[in-house]
Structures are given as structure tokens and as C-alpha cells.
């Protein structure tokens, strides 16, 4: 019976290990492990600092208590040739018990004061006038990203300028949800903050090194909670300005893909997706105005390649089971046309 169980486990593991899927391939260009110990922005730096203090305190407590326990277990184990008499019975000691009540209280007081300081320092940071404002709206299962003052709407890739610690240009993010609770978490930039319907939350970051930082939804939000990834592209001031200018431009009108464009606007695509400057102005799905400027599609679950775009339009659920976009059931010819149109949205 036991051997059978073991064998079943072995087979299951082997099968599972060799059936890896491309569905969850990340963005190889930018990804580094989103460790909370490799911060790149003030709130994350502060939390690491606090974490190290807490590790220090708890480490000492662990060493002392575990050490005493090991000592007691070794020293007071019953020896061979024990006379069988009961050891002296000690019922308690007011002084000792008082001591081991008061000492933890003192530790807790210190720890609380430190904690409170960090809470207020991080959460009560005043917004600077030069700060960038972004609104992020959580959807099942993707991120809508809006720059209200810049007139940009994009999805799943947050672009922000690098912030010089001497002259910080932080980004203040307003978090809202269109459906259920999500949670915004880029471990290297800040702690997480829930994205809650009917509630507006705020969080800020000031990334000090250009590069890509990854994160994903951290509150269970339904079937594709795992497929709700987010990339933060931290760019130099110049690169960011270029990106803004490019995003602000209206959608490209390419004569070559006219057939695709007309097909697109005649289909139900436009009920959910927007392409600025056209009749497509849906808000249920991601804005496609500059789709090809993004690295991934499907909220980070696949690379943004022509083949993936085509398969996605054909049947999103084959790449991301449960995705709310329906399979479009287009003829191969129509599929090619719509794909060509989307590929032109740079």
C-alpha cells in the first residue's frame, strides 16, 4: 500500500515536471527575483531596514529561548541508573515570573515605538507638486493604468521616471478596483496595498535605479489570480519623456491595415477595447492604442509577439484559462487581418 502510494507520487511528479508550459513565461528582458531584500525605492528601503531590526531582535530571542530549551532538555534528561525518585517539586517563583513578564513587555514597547515611526514615515509622506500621478484600476485579471494629467491610458506596464534621491520625483499611485479586491505589490519598490472596489487607496514609490521591476496581484481575485502580473519600467527622465510623447500620440492610421481596422471596428472588439481616435472606446478590456509598445499581453502571462497576438484573438482561454475575453471565432483570413491591424498599433 505504501509502496503503491510512493510510486503514484513519483509518477505524478515526473509527469508534472516534464509537462511545463509556455503559458507562464515571464519577460526575460527585465525580470529579476522580486526579493524584498533588494529594494530600489524609499518605502522598500525603509521596510528592509525595519525588517533587519526585527530580525535582530527576534534572532536574539530565538537564540536565548531555544538555547535554554536545548540546555534544559540535555541537562535534565533522565539518566541511566536513575534512582526512580521524583525530583524536587518547584511550584513557581514570583520574582522569576515577574521578570519574564516584564522583559517581554519592555521589548514590545521598544518594538512598537520603532514600528509606529516607520508606519507614519511611510504612510504620511506628503505629496510633492512635481510628483507623477498615476491611477491604477484592478480588473479581473489585468491592470488598467491611467496618467490623468498626461492623458495616457495603458495596461499592465507601469512606466515611471527614475527618482534622484537628491531631487526626488516620486510617483503617487491611486488604487481603485472595477470588480473584486486585488492587491498591488511590487516587492522591490514598496509594500503591498489592496485594490478595493468602492475604496480609494494611495501608495507611493520613488525608484532610484532605472530598470524593470516585477510584481503581481497579491489578493486572491478569482480564477486567474495567478495570471495578473505587472511590470514597472523605471526609465531615465529622457526615456520617460520619450515614452510619454509616444503614448500621447493618437493611434497610427496605417493604410496597409485598413481592412483589419474596418473589421476590428465592425466586430464586438470595440465594446471592450479602446483605440484612441477611433470608434473603439470600450473600457472593459485594456486600451489598445499603443498595444505594440508593451512587452507582454494577457497581463504578463505571454510575450507580446505576432504569433501570441494571433492566438490570443483566436482563443484567449488557450493561453490564459478563464480570461474574460471570449474566443472571437474568426475565419483564418479575418484573424490575419485583425492581427495585422493590432500589430500596427505601435
Amino acid at each position: 500500500m505504501r509502496r503503491l502510494t510512493c510510486r503514484l507520487l513519483l509518477v505524478a511528479t515526473t509527469v508534472a515536471i516534464f509537462s511545463t508550459s509556455p503559458a507562464t513565461a515571464g519577460d526575460n528582458g527585465v525580470v529579476q527575483t522580486p526579493s524584498i531584500f533588494t529594494p530600489a525605492s524609499t518605502p522598500a528601503f525603509a521596510i528592509r531596514e525595519l525588517a533587519l531590526i526585527v530580525f535582530g531582535i527576534t534572532g536574539v530571542i530565538f537564540a536565548v529561548v531555544a538555547g535554554l530549551t536545548v540546555y534544559a532538555l540535555m541537562r535534565f534528561r533522565r539518566r541511566r541508573g536513575d534512582d526512580g525518585r521524583e525530583p524536587p517539586q518547584v511550584y513557581g517563583s514570583r520574582q522569576i515570573e515577574l521578570a519574564w513578564t516584564v522583559v517581554p513587555i519592555l521589548i514590545v514597547v521598544v518594538l512598537f515605538l520603532v514600528t509606529a515611526r516607520y508606519i507614519f514615515a511611510i504612510e504620511r509622506r506628503a505629496q510633492l507638486p512635481e510628483a507623477l500621478e498615476v491611477t491604477i484600476v484592478g480588473h479581473q485579471w489585468w491592470w488598467e493604468i491611467r496618467y490623468p494629467k498626461l492623458g495616457i491610458v495603458t495596461a499592465n506596464e507601469l512606466h515611471v521616471p527614475v527618482s534622484d534621491p537628491a531631487r526626488p520625483t516620486p510617483t503617487f499611485i491611486t488604487l481603485q478596483s472595477a470588480d473584486v479586491i486585488h492587491s498591488f505589490w511590487i516587492p522591490q519598490l514598496a509594500g503591498k496595498m489592496d485594490v478595493i472596489p468602492n475604496k480609494t487607496n494611495r501608495i507611493w514609490i520613488d525608484p532610484q535605479k532605472a530598470g524593470g521591476y516585477v510584481g503581481q496581484c497579491a489578493e486572491y481575485c478569482g480564477l486567474q489570480h495567478a495570471g495578473m502580473l505587472l511590470i514597472v519600467a523605471v526609465q531615465t527622465k529622457e526615456d520617460f519623456a520619450k515614452w510619454v510623447a509616444q503614448q500621447q500620440a493618437p493611434a497610427r492610421i496605417d493604410a496597409e491595415v485598413r481592412a483589419g481596422r474596418e473589421l476590428f471596428s465592425s466586430l464586438s472588439c470595440i465594446n471592450c477595447h479602446a483605440v484612441r481616435g477611433t470608434s473603439a472606446n470600450g473600457v472593459f478590456g485594456p486600451d489598445l492604442t499603443h498595444l505594440m509598445s508593451r512587452r507582454t499581453i494577457g497581463a504578463g502571462v505571454i510575450q507580446n509577439t505576432p504569433e501570441n497576438i494571433r492566438s490570443w484573438i483566436d482563443d484567449p482561454a488557450s493561453l490564459k484559462p478563464g480570461a474574460l475575453m471570449p474566443a472571437m471565432k474568426l475565419s483564418r483570413d479575418d484573424l490575419d487581418k485583425v492581427t495585422a491591424y493590432l500589430l500596427a498599433l505601435r
Binding site: L9, F55, F62, T69, A72, T115, A116, K199, G215
Partner: protein
């Protein structure tokens, strides 16, 4: 001794000859607190196996990135059912089952105050649990919303609203827990009444075993914290069936309100599970160290303290909902405060072992591992109470590791200790020490391989409740190690089951008092007669059997 063993064997022989149906009938209609206690614990253990299999499937799925062991929807059902089962159908019945069995024996009563209510409580709990699992078959409902619920064990609004979880799966979760909750409240009422009105002669409150104190504390806690959950579940029911808008954010409701209701129950619930675990340790460690419990009064006060302070810490589960700095700081403070009585308890157990003559029987081995693992659980708990650190750790695998250290590393280990310790009393036979040691070492190594390692991916940014993860995050190796601890634990559990089956038939007869213990349950036969005691003993200290064994140096004057 031998005479007693003989009579016992013949009685068992007689029982074996009766038709199975008659035996079964006797168990179904019983109102005996001991039989109900056994049924509680056994059904809890059966649900433990079910939840363990669900966990195993999840661990296989997560062993490496991009695996396809189970589809996404199934994975979400698995963690929902695993969590719900472990908390409501494993933890609660086992701790209350032990309470059922032991409380009357420990305080010198012949049964609980309301035996029939007790039977009702058990059966309604059991059928609640079965109702939840019936969702695997019947959850599709009219709209095909999937079979088992997939809402997480804390069922956050508005995901539980009809708009997001159509079909009946969520209703199964809701109704099953309402039903099971009725049983829990019934048992809690029974415990409180019994403990405060039915103690034997001389058994003052101050002489009750610590375990009885823990059961009293958690019964009060249950009566206070379960009604808010029930209220919230009824509101959810109204939302889903009658179009009310308590948690319907699309109609302007607050999603955070559910969380307050839920965690006002959910956090003290952890103490409801954990305090009896402390009770087990407080009974077993003294007996195996051959010393009286160090600082009885502080230990009991610490339990009450944990119960009281524990009711003011719930929103530390909500540090990331944007409560504002003042509330964050307040709940950080109350949470840290719980560390004080908890620390006191650990020191009291240390003080008990200090200067003793420790015997490492299987129950004590599990208690030793409990001490270290509970220390770890407490310290990661302190890390999580530090709100800004919590903003990183919350909803990550670090939290999953933390609460498994509490509920498995601490609670389940003390439950195993308790089973090895009281099995002789319940069945009249000892469990095998040799198999017990195999069980212990496999489980302790497997548990730590899995759950110590699990802290790491959390700190590397891996959120919980994801059915898969990208290949490039650097989480794979950690997840593989986490999964590798699993077979060791499974084999450990198998050995445990084999041990029980073999020992039930062929275990060494235990006698009344195999551990040379001191509390009242060891004064009667093993197993105890239906009426528990022929003559209810008169108690004059906290360790009545110590007084009996050491008439020259009784406890009384020292207390």
C-alpha cells in the same frame, strides 16, 4: 494489574461477538461524552487526511513553474477546501473532541451538563462537514459555477457575490459553515456549563487542570466571536438569495466590512485552536519531566490574557487594506502585546522542565518539537505584527509558512502528543513507542523541510493562492524543496495510522495510569466506565494523584 487486563480483554471479546449493526447503533445513539469525544477526534482525523490530500495535490502543482497537475479552477477549489476543512473540520472538532472526552474526567464529573445537546452538536457538525464536501458533487447549481467553492477560506467580499461566483458552490461553503457553527456553539455552551457547575468535590476553579482552563477560555471565546461570523454569513446569504446589498460593492456596499466581521471571528479562532494545544503541553510536559507545572497561576492568567487581548487584534489581518496609520499602529500594538502572555507560557514550560528528570516518550518528543516550532511561529508572528514589514509579507508565502508553523508545527504536534498520551486511557492499550518514534522523526523532518523553506519564496515576492508562477522569478528551487518535504509527512501519517490500527488490537495493555500521571482521569480504569468513576474522588490539590502517591508530601500546602 493482570486481573484487570483479563477482564478488559474478555469485555472486548464480548463486544466483538455482537453484530456490527448493534455496535454501530450504539455509537450512533450514544450521549456518552467519551464516545462523542472519540467520534469528534476520529472525524477530525479523517477530515485531516482529506485536507492533507488536497494540500498534496497543490504542492505537486507548485513543485516547479508552469506545471499542469491540476487546472487553475481546481487549484483554487483545493486551497479553499483545504483551508476551510483544516480550520473548521479538523482543528475545531479535535480540540473540542478532547475537551469532550477529558473535561468531565478531569474535573470529576459523570458526563457533560447536556449530554443530548452534546450528541446534537456532534452530528450537526459532522453533517455540516459532509455538506461542505457534497459541494464537490452538487455545487454546479443552475449556472454551472464550478463544483467546490473557490473563494478562499476567508471568502472575501465581493468575490462571494453572485456577480462573481455564480452557481451554488459559494452557498455550500456558507451554509455548511453555518450548520457546523451551530454544533460548535452547542459544545461551547456545554463546556462552560459543565466546567462552572459540575466540578467534583474539592475541585475548585484554582485546582482545575490547565487543559480544563484552556477549554473554558476557548468556550467563552467561541460564544463571543462566532455570532459575528454567523451574522455576516446570514448577510451573505441574503445578498445571494434575496438581493440584499450588504457586501455588494456595485450597489455601494463596503468590501472591507466583511473583513472586519470575518477577522473578528477569524483571529480569535486561531487562539480557540491553539489554547487547547497549550493545554495538552501543560499536561504532558510536567508528567514527562516529573515536576509540577511551574507557575500554574501565571499560566492560567496568560491564557485568559491571550483570550482577552486576542479579541482586539483582528485587523492585523488587514494591514494592507488601507486602514490609515493610526489604526495600523493600534493593531500593531495590540498584536505585539499578545507576545507577552505567549512568552510567559513558553517560560513556564521551560521552568517546568528545568531541574526535572525528563523521559522522552513519544508524547514528550512531540511536545519538544512543539516548543521549538511554536517559538519560530511566535517570532514570525512578531515580524508580521510589524505593520510595514507586514505590507511586504502579507498574502505572501511567508504568511502561509507562519500559520502552518502555528497550526501544524504547534497545534498538530501537540495533538499528536495528546493522542499518544491519552490513547491508553481511551482504548486501554498503549500505542507502539517504536512506531511512534518513526512517526515523530519523519514528521518533524518533513514538516520543517516543507515549512521552514516556505518562508523563503514569500520573502522573494511569491504571493499565495497562485496556481502557477513564471519560470524566471527564482522561486522554483524553493518550491521544489517545499514539495520534497511532503512524502516524509505522508509516510509519517501512514505509520501513525498503522500504529493506531495495530495497537488497537495488539497494543500492550495500559492499566489505569501508564504514565505515572497526576490528574483525575488516570484514577479510573482504562477505558473508563460509562459513569467515569465508581466513587467520585474528593480532591484537595491540583494533582490529586500526586497526593495519593505521596501522602507524606501532598501538593496542598504548596499551592
Amino acid at each position: 494489574m493482570s486481573v484487570r487486563a483479563d477482564t478488559m480483554t474478555s469485555r472486548r471479546g464480548a463486544e466483538a461477538h455482537r453484530p456490527l449493526l448493534a455496535v454501530l447503533h450504539e455509537w450512533v445513539v450514544t450521549v456518552d461524552h467519551k464516545r462523542l469525544g472519540v467520534m469528534y477526534v476520529v472525524s477530525g482525523l479523517v477530515f485531516l487526511v482529506v485536507a492533507g490530500l488536497e494540500a498534496s495535490a497543490m504542492r505537486l502543482q507548485l513543485a516547479w513553474s508552469g506545471l499542469h497537475v491540476v487546472p487553475p479552477g481546481t487549484f483554487n477549489q483545493l486551497f479553499t477546501m483545504h483551508g476551510t476543512t483544516m480550520v473548521f473540520l479538523v482543528g475545531i472538532p479535535i480540540v473540542f473532541g478532547f475537551g469532550n472526552y477529558l473535561v468531565p474526567l478531569m474535573i470529576g464529573a459523570r458526563d457533560l451538563a447536556f449530554p443530548r445537546l452534546n450528541a446534537f452538536g456532534f452530528w450537526i457538525f459532522l453533517f455540516g462537514g459532509l455538506l461542505l464536501h457534497f459541494s464537490f458533487l452538487g455545487g454546479e447549481g443552475l449556472y454551472g459555477g464550478g463544483a467546490a467553492p473557490a473563494i478562499g477560506w476567508f471568502a472575501y467580499a465581493p468575490l462571494t457575490e453572485r456577480a462573481f461566483t455564480p452557481g451554488n458552490a459559494t452557498d455550500y461553503w456558507n451554509l455548511a459553515l453555518l450548520v457546523a457553527g451551530v454544533g460548535t456553539v452547542a459544545t461551547a455552551v456545554n463546556m462552560v456549563t459543565t466546567i462552572f457547575t459540575m466540578r467534583g468535590p474539592g475541585m475548585t476553579l484554582g485546582r482545575m487542570p490547565v487543559f480544563v482552563w484552556e477549554i473554558a477560555t476557548i468556550s467563552w471565546l467561541t460564544l463571543i466571536i462566532l455570532p459575528p461570523l454567523t451574522a455576516a454569513q446570514i448577510m451573505l446569504l441574503l445578498d445571494r438569495f434575496l438581493g440584499a446589498h450588504f457586501f455588494d460593492t456595485q450597489a455601494g456596499a463596503s468590501a472591507v466590512m466583511w473583513q472586519h466581521f470575518f477577522w473578528f471571528f477569524g483571529h480569535p479562532e486561531v487562539y480557540i485552536l491553539m489554547l487547547p494545544g497549550f493545554g495538552f503541553a501543560s499536561e504532558i510536559i510536567p508528567v514527562f519531566s516529573r515536576k509540577v507545572l511551574f507557575g500554574y497561576a501565571t499560566l492560567v492568567a496568560a491564557s485568559a490574557g491571550i483570550g482577552l487581548v486576542g479579541m482586539s487584534t483582528w485587523a492585523h489581518h488587514m494591514f494592507v487594506v488601507g486602514m490609515g496609520s493610526t489604526l495600523n499602529a493600534a493593531f500593531a500594538a495590540s498584536t505585539m502585546l499578545v507576545a507577552v502572555p505567549t512568552g510567559v507560557k513558553i517560560f513556564n514550560w521551560l521552568g517546568t522542565m528545568y531541574g526535572g528528570k525528563i523521559r522522552f516518550g513519544t508524547p514528550m518528543l512531540f511536545c519538544c518539537a512543539f516548543l521549538f516550532q511554536f517559538l519560530c511561529a511566535g517570532l514570525t508572528g512578531i515580524m508580521l505584527s510589524v505593520a510595514p514589514f507586514n505590507w511586504q509579507l502579507s498574502d505572501s508565502y511567508f504568511v502561509v509558512a507562519h500559520f502552518h508553523f502555528v497550526l501544524i508545527g504547534a497545534l498538530l504536534f501537540t495533538i499528536f502528543a495528546a493522542i499518544y498520551y491519552w490513547f491508553p486511557k481511551v482504548t486501554g492499550r498503549m500505542l507502539s513507542e517504536r512506531l511512534g518514534r518513526w512517526h515523530f522523526w519523519l514528521f518533524v523532518i518533513g514538516f520543517n523541510t516543507t515549512f521552514l523553506t516556505m518562508h523563503v519564496p514569500g520573502m522573494l515576492g511569491m504571493p499565495r493562492r497562485i496556481y502557477s508562477y513564471p519560470a524566471d522569478r527564482g522561486w522554483e528551487i524553493w518550491n521544489l524543496v517545499v514539495t520534497l518535504g511532503l512524502p516524509l509527512q505522508i509516510i509519517g501519517i501512514l505509520i501513525f495510522v498503522i500504529n493506531i490500527v495495530i495497537s488497537l488490537r495488539r497494543g500492550t495493555p495500559a492499566g489505569d495510569d501508564p504514565w505515572d500521571a497526576w490528574t483525575l482521569e488516570w484514577a479510573t480504569t482504562s477505558p473508563p466506565p460509562v459513569y467515569n468513576f465508581e466513587v467520585v474522588p474528593v480532591v484537595s490539590s491540583r494533582r490529586p494523584l500526586w497526593d495519593l502517591k505521596h501522602p507524606d508530601d501532598p501538593d496542598g500546602p504548596h499551592e
